[in-house]
């Protein structure tokens, strides 16, 4: 018998260069592993930065200003002669906590609004829907700027404004999720079994509606960090010399031509955090959905 070598021989081009499912899974895992490793690095940086950084983040040494990366200073030094690597490591705590806190706040608001809209009947839903739409008309940064104008620039305002800015998006998803779960056959099945409204809400609707929020949160952290750092960049965030990444970026901006490392590394940190959380979030998302798919 003649065995045709592979599908390429028999199949059309469109299907002859397929992405085999098995290898797709293998490919998927590299990202999450790297992400987890990077996040572990960050956890260490938050728990005990001195393990990673050998300089104090605030130790000024004007004699050594703007030294290029070397063995002694992995990421070089900044304009005050501070070790950029150490600052990046110490900067993990403020930068991440702003991102996390803002995401948490955004989600909290979203859950309340979304749950009210999803569960509160037609009128409440319509009202909250309008409120969300109005909030959507305020781009995140605009909201943050307004907020900062009224309440002043501080880390707290930063967190609150970024959280508020991200809330409508989350809320819309929470609402959609609750509505979907509410009308799902398994919720109806619960009612048919004679369970009370509150029991069904508490045991079935809410837990299931909240399930995708983990993924959402993971995806959101990176964006929150980016937004918070944008505000820091505009000068509305953390105060120097605190090693917050966004503020460091604002600092390093003018050295982009003369000392690129001051600008590049904090920025790369933000990118990596976002990459890591996003790829982890998407991995989780696929896992969640994938379980449904292999049914």
């Amino acid at each position: 018998m003649t065995t045709l070598d592979s599908s390429a021989a028999l199949l059309g081009a469109g299907t002859s260069r397929p992405v085999p499912t098995a290898s797709a899974f293998r490919r998927l895992r590299i990202g999450p592993i790297l992400s987890v490793l990077f996040l572990l690095f960050l956890v260490v940086a938050v728990v005990d930065p001195s393990l990673l950084a050998h300089y104090q983040p605030l130790a000024v040494d004007p004699a050594k200003s703007l030294e290029a990366p070397s063995v002694a200073h992995l990421f070089g030094t900044d304009e005050s002669g501070r070790d950029v690597f150490s600052r990046v490591v110490y900067g993990a705590t403020p930068s991440l906590s702003i991102g996390l806190a803002a995401t948490a706040l955004g989600l909290a608001i979203a859950i309340v609004l979304g749950a009210l809209a999803g569960l509160g009947g037609r009128v409440v839903d319509a009202i909250i829907g309008r409120i969300l739409e109005i909030l959507f008309a305020f781009p995140a940064l605009l909201l943050a700027l307004l907020f900062v104008t009224i309440f002043g620039a501080s880390v707290e305002s930063l967190i609150i404004s970024v959280g508020l800015g991200s809330a409508p998006g989350y809320a819309r998803m929470v609402r959609g999720q609750i509505l979907a779960v509410k009308s799902s056959p398994y919720v109806e099945a619960s009612y048919v079994l004679g369970h009370s409204r509150w029991r069904v809400l508490g045991r079935t609707v809410l837990p299931n509606a909240m399930r995708p929020l983990l993924v959402l949160a993971t995806l959101g952290i990176g964006q929150s960090i980016i937004w918070a750092s944008s505000l820091s960049f505009l000068g509305l965030g953390a105060a120097p010399p605190a090693p917050e990444w966004g503020a460091m970026l604002a600092d390093g901006r003018e050295f982009i031509s003369t000392a690129w490392w001051v600008e590049l590394f904090p920025g790369a940190m933000i990118v990596f955090v976002t990459l890591a959380t996003t790829s982890l979030g998407r991995y989780l998302q696929r896992r969640l959905e994938g379980r449904g798919a292999d049914a």
Binding site: G12, A13, G14, T15, R17, P18, V19, S23, A24, R27, R130, I131, E133, I134, F136, A137, F138, P139, A140, L141, L142, L145, L146, V148, T149, I150, G169, G222, I226, S229, S230, F233, L234, L249, R253, I256, S257, W260, E263, G267, I270, V271, F272, T274, L275, T278, S279, R282
Partner: protein
Amino acid sequence: MTTVSTGSVSFEDDLDSDFTTTGARTSHSQRGWRRLVRTVGSGILVLWGAATVTFIAINAMPGNPAVAMAGGAASHPSKAVIAAVTREYGFDQSLFVQYLLYLLRLIRGNFGFSSSQKMPVADVIAESIWPTVLLTASALLLAWILAIASCLLTVRRGRFATSLGSGLEVLSAALPQYWLGILLLEIFAFSLGWIPATGGDGAVGLILPAFTLAIPLAGFMSQVTRDEFDLALEQPFVISARARGMSDWGVRLRHVLRHAVLPGLTLSGWALGSLISGAVIVETLYSRNGLGGVLLVGVTQQDMPLTVGVTLIVALVYVVANVVVDALYVVVDPRLRSR
């Protein structure tokens, strides 16, 4: 395209030949009207809401709102000026009356005078709105082009291309705009000198800012588009098309793409909001004139009339954009026409 002599619209030929879906035409146009009325209604509602929120913001501002409206403490408004503002805005009246007066002025298109720009707010906006609309619109367009190109070229194109495509998308979405902007500026303007460092005029000046805004957005768009693209490629109707003898490119362009852009299209309304946020950063970064920069000035200089004006214009742009997106959605997904 040839039209068949029967007089009806031919269903022959290319993507762009639009098949009017049929059904009772009158009821369609009635539905169209109803939808239009609903969209406009909800648009007005959003504007009203935005105006209300800004009204609350003015009143939440520390200090005398009359001073804020007269340019803030920093501009040392005279007593007479404060009195005039107080009278005009009714700051001596009840909050409700103030609110009504405020709405009335807005309806009349009277946005007040910008203390920081020494110009009527309407003039400031008129001068800065087009650069921003141009910037955000071209960024949106560019983001779409990048996202679609990425999907067409890399979805299910072998392991390497696929990972490259999806990797680049996630990376793009993770880039902070200001950082990307600085890098682009350094590379293309400072080092290579391809583009004037000050941005240059006209289309050239638009290149870097538009890319700065578009790349992260393209990352987002193409992630959702990719998922949908991937799904659609496996759909029975796609296999049917292949079974009719259609080529891979044909399938991608004629069938899959249309489905794949739908979720991204839904995102476009939101995306515009984020682009306006981004415009604040990009306009500062590239020293471009525009609403973003004006807004930043308004906010940092506590120029309340300006801030309110820009806020409402942004809300209006958002509303209009959503109407456009809705309309586009129907063009791409004619199923909605009959709903």
